[in-house]
């Protein structure tokens, strides 16, 4: 995985300070196009081909965004957790893992946001309210805030290594909340849908459309993370170059004084 993840870093380190580094490679371009196609595909199925629901009527179509985004958020946070582990484990320690963790968390927060918004819109339709104190909604909200906190801690400053260590620990602790959200529906008295999908309560075509959405979102996720972590790489390099300048100035103090 790190193989192509680090591709630009090698490029960028090879190149002179002046010219700009591309964050895209043929691979990621292909990926981006695939993601676009996938989303188009989803629109077709989601909005036109898939049937209405008995109770939910056409509102059910939100499902195709709502659920995939939620699951992808889980995935993103999972990836953040894993790459954080990879960073902490001495044998695989590399800032690349830290940047992947950061990038994935950012995208995860984005998807969780989509879940929240689509969910509350859906709620307006089917429950007649944007928000209610249902267990899953609340736990989702907490998960959302937790990762905002995670990102805040990433911004606390210090050296790259300090940032990496600090946030890695948080990420591993935070990921514990994901199962909490998932199982909340079975643990609390729920209003929110419980395992609809696992229990195969969806008609064939709906299920299929859902998986189309899943695929499209997954492609999108990989594409976003790929680019975001490359941007982060470049940002870290900018810091380092800034440091070179600062060091030069600092040394001058010795001369002038």
């Amino acid at each position: 995985m790190t193989g192509f993840m680090t591709s630009t870093r090698n490029q960028a380190e090879a190149m002179p300070a002046t010219d700009r580094a591309p964050t895209s490679t043929t691979f990621s371009r292909a990926l981006g196009i695939a993601a676009l196609v996938g989303i188009g595909w989803l629109i077709v199925f989601g909005l036109f081909l898939s049937p209405n629901d008995r109770v939910q009527k056409t509102g059910v179509r939100i499902l195709y965004i709502h659920v995939p985004s939620a699951w992808l958020a889980y995935l993103a946070f999972g990836v953040t957790g894993l790459s954080s582990l990879a960073y902490l484990w001495k044998r695989t320690r590399s800032l690349t893992w830290d940047r992947i963790a950061g990038a994935s968390a950012e995208v995860g927060v984005l998807f969780m946001g989509i879940t929240l918004v689509s969910g509350s819109l859906w709620g307006r339709i089917s429950w007649g309210t944007y928000w209610t104190w249902d267990a899953r909604l609340t736990t989702t909200a907490f998960l959302f805030v937790t990762y905002i906190g995670y990102l805040a801690v990433r911004g606390l400053g210090g050296t790259h290594q300090q940032r990496a260590k600090r946030s890695a620990v948080l990420a591993i602790l935070a990921v514990v909340e994901v199962p909490l959200v998932h199982f909340s529906v079975t643990w609390w008295r729920p209003l929110h849908q419980n395992e609809t999908v696992e229990n195969g309560k969806l008609s064939g075509l709906m299920l299929f459309t859902l998986f189309v959405g899943l695929i499209a979102f997954t492609l999108l996720y990989v594409w976003l993370v790929l680019h975001r972590q490359r941007v982060l790489t470049l940002l870290d390099q900018v810091d380092d170059r800034g440091l070179d300048v600062a060091i030069a100035e600092r040394r001058n103090e010795a001369v002038t004084s």
């Binding site: 050296t159 290594q161 800034g242 440091l243 060091i247 600092r250 040394r251 103090e253 010795a254 004084s257």
Partner: protein, 223 residues
Amino acid sequence: MEPVPQPVVELVVELVDVVAVLGSFPALAGASLTVNRGEIVLLRGPNGAGKTSLLRLCAGLLPVERGTATVLGCDLVADRTSVRNRVGLLGHSNGLYADLTVTDNVRFWGATVGASAKEIDASLQRMGLASRLADVQVAKLSAGQRRRTALACLVARRAELWLLDEPHAGLDAAGRDDLDVTLRAAAAAGATVIVASHELERAGALATRVVEVVGGQVRQVAE
């Protein structure tokens, strides 16, 4: 419990082109310094030169951004923590618990290296705190009395490398003498001492070698 015997290292501190950053500012910009066991080195230099940063780096508190740093045989680049329980640092702030008494404080810091009650008393004696002050809360001490307490805590830690940031500041005449005696004794007993100070006469007389820190770098000073 006795401290585990440490391998004898003649070269106690060896910094080569060390860069260390505070926030984004390179407090140390290519500093190189070697200190041998038993030396008492004085760091002088203008405000903001990087003396405190240098001391904190040697104590393993400040990460090494670039260059190599070896203290008491431990490679700080690889691992900043293992050196810590062998150095003692007195910073600009005293690191005391204001709600505890002088004795409480010295006892606590001593306990971290398993110092005996006898050693604790000895430390208090050394800094002239075995008086009524011994049982006074630190919050109720004068500035200089606090500094003395902090020094007593340092003494109790029986470190191999002593790092002191302006130790004379705030001490009265007697306190300064106590301090110099203590440091000379420590050095004689095989410890190594690095002192950052602006009181050049006083600290200069104490030191066996003087180096100058300027703009995050270290300059040797010709005698």
